[in-house]
Point group: C2
C-alpha cells in the first residue's frame, strides 16, 4: 500500500531527459539544410534549398524491370541479412567503377558499402578523432560532414577555396602553425570535384600538392568524391586517391547523385587496414546496409543503367546551371559574387558583407523562394553573407522565376 502510493507519485513526475544525456549532446545541432527544408515543408514554394536530384533522372522503368526479372535466388538473398562490408558482387563492380576516377589497382577487399557517404564520414570521425584533435576542412564545406565531425569535438582549421581549390599556401601555413605548437593534423577533409557548396574543382596540380603535403606531414586525407561522376564535360580531374601510394587517402562516394538517394548507398575505397576498422565499427552502427537496395544498385551497374544515365544527368544539370547563371546575371546586383560550377548541383553566392543571409531567407520564404544560408557550411559560422542555391531540383521555369524574386529582394536590402 505504502509502495503503491509512492509509485503513483513517481508516475506523475515528469521525466527529466536532460539529466540522462551524455556530455556534449546538448551541442548537437540540426543541419541548416534540414532546417531550411522544414521551413518549406508542405508550402507551395520555389526551393533552391535542398540538395535533391531531379526526379527525372531516376531510372523508374529500369528498376521495375530489375525487380521483375531478378532470379528468385538473388531476390531471396536481397531480403536476407548480408555481410557488413556489403554484397561482394557489388563491391567488385565498385572497385571497377572507380577506374573512371583514375583509381586502379584496387579490388573488392578495398571496398566497404555504407549508408550514403554520410555514414562513411560519420564512422571515420568516430574511428579517428578524440575530442580536441586538430583537423582541416575547406571553408565553406559540406554541412552534414561538419555536424558528424562536431560530435567528436575536434579543433577545426579552415582553408579558404580559391579558383583552383583549397589554397595550398594557406594549407601549408596552417599545418606548420599547428605543428609549431607541438600538435598534429589528423586529417584533411576535402571535396575536390565540384565542391559542395563552393562549386569549385581542385586542379590536378593542387591535388598533387595536397597529397605531397599530407605525406610530408603524415596526415590522412578524406576525399569526398560525391560529385566526381557529375562533371558536366564528363572529365573531372582524377581523384586524389588515384595518386595515393601509401594508403593515406580514404575515398568516399555515393549512389545518391548517379542513381537514387533513397537507396541510401555510398561506398569507401581505402586500404585493407582502414576497411577492416570501418567494418568493425559499422557492425555496431547498423550491421550492414540494405542488401535489397545493394542488389538493385548492382544490377544497375551490370545492366549499364548508370552508364547510360550519367550523360543524361550531366546534360540536364548543365542546362539548369546555365539558366541559373543567366538569371543571376540578369537579376542579382552587380556586386554579388558567385561560383560557376563545372559539375554538381549548387551555385554559391557571396553577397555584400552587410547582408545577413539568414534574415534574407525569412523575407525570401514570404515571397515564395527558399535557399540555404551559407554560414552553416562554415566550421566557425562565418560566411553570414553567403547562400547556397540548388539548381538540380527546381524546374527551368522555377529557376527563372525564383532567381528574379531573390534578385529583386537582394537589391531592396542593398539599397
Amino acid at each position: 500500500m505504502e509502495r503503491n502510493k509512492r509509485v503513483k507519485r513517481e508516475e506523475k513526475r515528469e521525466l527529466d531527459l536532460d539529466s540522462f544525456l551524455a556530455n556534449g549532446i546538448e551541442k548537437m545541432r540540426a543541419s541548416d539544410v534540414r532546417d531550411a527544408l522544414k521551413l518549406v515543408e508542405g508550402k507551395k514554394i520555389i526551393s533552391f534549398a535542398g540538395g535533391l536530384p531531379d526526379p527525372e533522372t531516376f531510372p523508374h522503368k529500369e528498376v521495375k524491370d530489375i525487380i521483375r526479372t531478378l532470379e528468385h535466388s538473388d531476390l531471396s538473398s536481397s531480403f536476407q541479412y548480408g555481410a557488413t562490408l556489403g554484397v561482394i558482387e557489388l563491391r567488385k563492380e565498385l572497385s571497377k567503377l572507380v577506374s573512371k576516377r583514375g583509381i586502379v589497382n584496387v579490388d573488392e577487399t578495398n571496398v566497404l558499402v555504407s549508408a550514403g557517404s554520410q555514414e562513411a564520414i560519420y564512422i571515420l570521425c568516430f574511428l579517428l578523432l578524440n575530442p580536441g584533435d586538430d583537423i582541416i576542412v575547406e571553408t565553406p564545406t559540406y554541412v552534414a560532414a561538419l555536424n558528424a565531425m562536431r560530435l567528436r569535438e575536434p579543433i577545426f582549421h579552415g582553408i579558404p577555396l580559391r579558383e583552383d581549390g583549397m589554397d595550398m599556401k594557406e594549407l601549408e601555413k596552417t599545418i606548420k602553425e599547428v605543428e609549431a605548437k607541438g600538435r598534429r593534423i589528423k586529417f584533411i577533409y576535402t571535396i575536390p570535384s565540384s565542391q559542395n557548396p563552393g562549386g569549385i574543382t581542385m586542379s590536378m596540380q593542387n591535388r598533387k600538392r595536397l597529397l605531397e603535403l599530407a605525406e610530408e606531414h603524415n596526415i590522412l586525407i578524406i576525399e569526398d568524391d560525391a560529385y566526381g561522376f557529375l562533371a558536366f564535360d564528363g572529365n573531372a580531374p582524377d581523384a586524389i586517391k588515384s595518386l595515393d601510394k601509401t594508403g593515406r587517402v580514404i575515398y568516399t562516394s555515393t549512389f545518391s547523385k548517379i542513381l537514387a538517394p533513397g537507396f541510401r548507398l555510398g561506398w569507401v575505397i581505402a586500404s585493407n587496414e582502414v576497411i577492416s576498422k570501418m567494418e568493425l565499427m559499422k557492425q555496431s552502427v547498423d550491421l550492414h546496409s540494405s542488401t535489397f537496395t545493394q542488389r538493385i544498385a548492382l544490377e544497375t551497374l551490370r545492366r549499364g543503367v548508370i552508364e547510360r544515365n550519367m550523360p543524361r544527368v550531366r546534360k540536364l544539370y548543365k542546362e539548369k546551371r546555365d539558366v541559373m547563371i543567366k538569371s543571376i546575371e540578369e537579376w542579382f546586383p552587380k556586386d554579388v559574387k558567385y561560383s560557376i560550377p563545372d559539375g554538381g548541383m549548387f551555385i554559391f553566392v557571396w553577397l555584400k558583407p552587410e547582408i545577413n543571409a539568414r534574415d534574407l531567407l525569412k523575407s525570401a520564404v514570404e515571397r515564395g523562394v527558399a535557399f540555404v544560408p551559407g554560414s552553416g557550411f562554415y566550421h566557425d559560422d562565418s560566411g553570414k553573407n553567403t547562400m547556397r542555391l540548388n539548381f538540380s531540383k527546381p524546374s527551368v521555369e522555377e529557376i527563372k522565376k525564383g532567381i528574379k524574386i531573390l534578385g529583386l529582394l537582394i537589391k531592396e536590402k542593398t539599397n
Copy 2:
C-alpha cells in the same frame, strides 16, 4: 629536386594507421555471431550459427507486385531523399501496428524509423552514455547490442534470467548496491519477449515490477521487442512500453523478423523528447533510412502482407523449434540444460561447466555443424559452457542431422 627526393622516401614509408586511431578503438571487437558466420562461409555445413529468418518466409511475390503496381509519384519519392524521422505514412502505420503489443496513445510523432533496431540501440548508447556510466543488461543478452554499448565504455551490471525473465530480486539488489556507492544506473536494456539468446519471456508481473523499480530509482528502460510479434501462440505479454506513463521506456522493434532483414528497417517508439534527440543524432549518422525500402514496408503493412505472413512464420518456426527440442532430447546428454522458447529463433544451451563451447565449435565445424558459442552474449565473457542454436534458418532435415552430430560430439567431450 631536393623535395622530390624527400617525397619519394616518404612514399615508401608504410602508413602507421594505429597512430591515427581514437582512444578505445583498439577495444572494438567483432561479434561472435559474425565470426562464426565467417567460419562457415562458403562451406557446406549445417549452420545453427546465424540469426537468419527462413527465406521461405520472405514475401517474394508480394514485393514484386508492390513495385509493379506502385504509383509513379510514390515510386519517385521512394528514390528521393526523405525525412530523418522516416516516411510519415510509415510512421503512422507503425504507431498503429504497435497496438498489437498493447502500446496505444502514440502517434507518428512518437516514431523514428531506424536501420534495423541495431542503429536505434547504437544511437541510444551514444546519446545516453558517458564512459564509466553504470548500465544493466540481462545475462546472457544480444551480442550486437553489447558491442554497441562497449563503444561507450560503460560499467556493465548483469542480471541473470529466470524462467519468468530477469531476476527481480537481483535487479533490485544491484540497483541499490550501485546507489549505495553514490552512483546511478542510466538504463536497463531488456529483451522481454522470447529473449535472444536466452529464449525466455518475461512475465507480466515482472514487467510491471521492472517498470516500478525503474520509476522508483529514476532509470530509463530500453525495451528491445525484436521478437514480440513472433510468439508462437500469437500472444506475447504486452510490451513494457504499454505500461509506461512517464516516457521512461524507449521501445525498439524491427522489420527483420516479420518482413525481411535485407530492408534494414526498424523503429523506435518513445517520447517526443527522446525522438527529437535521436533524430538529431541520426542526421549525422546516415541522414535517414532508405526511403525505397520504407515505401515497400509501408505497402506490406497497408496491403496486409505482414498481417497474413505472421501466422505462417509463427507456425513454421514453432514446428522447427519442436523438431530441435525433440532432437536435443534424443541426442544430447541428459545433464545438458536448454531453454524451450515460446517464440523467436533460438534455443540456448548450458553444457557441463567443464566444456568450453569455443573449443567445441572447432570440432563441430570439422564434422559439418556450426553454432555460436554463448560467451559472446555475456557482458563479462562468462558463460563459456553455453551455446546458442538457431532453428529458423536450417531445414527440418538439417536440424535432425546437425543436432545428432552435435549431441554425439558433446557426449564424447563429456566422457
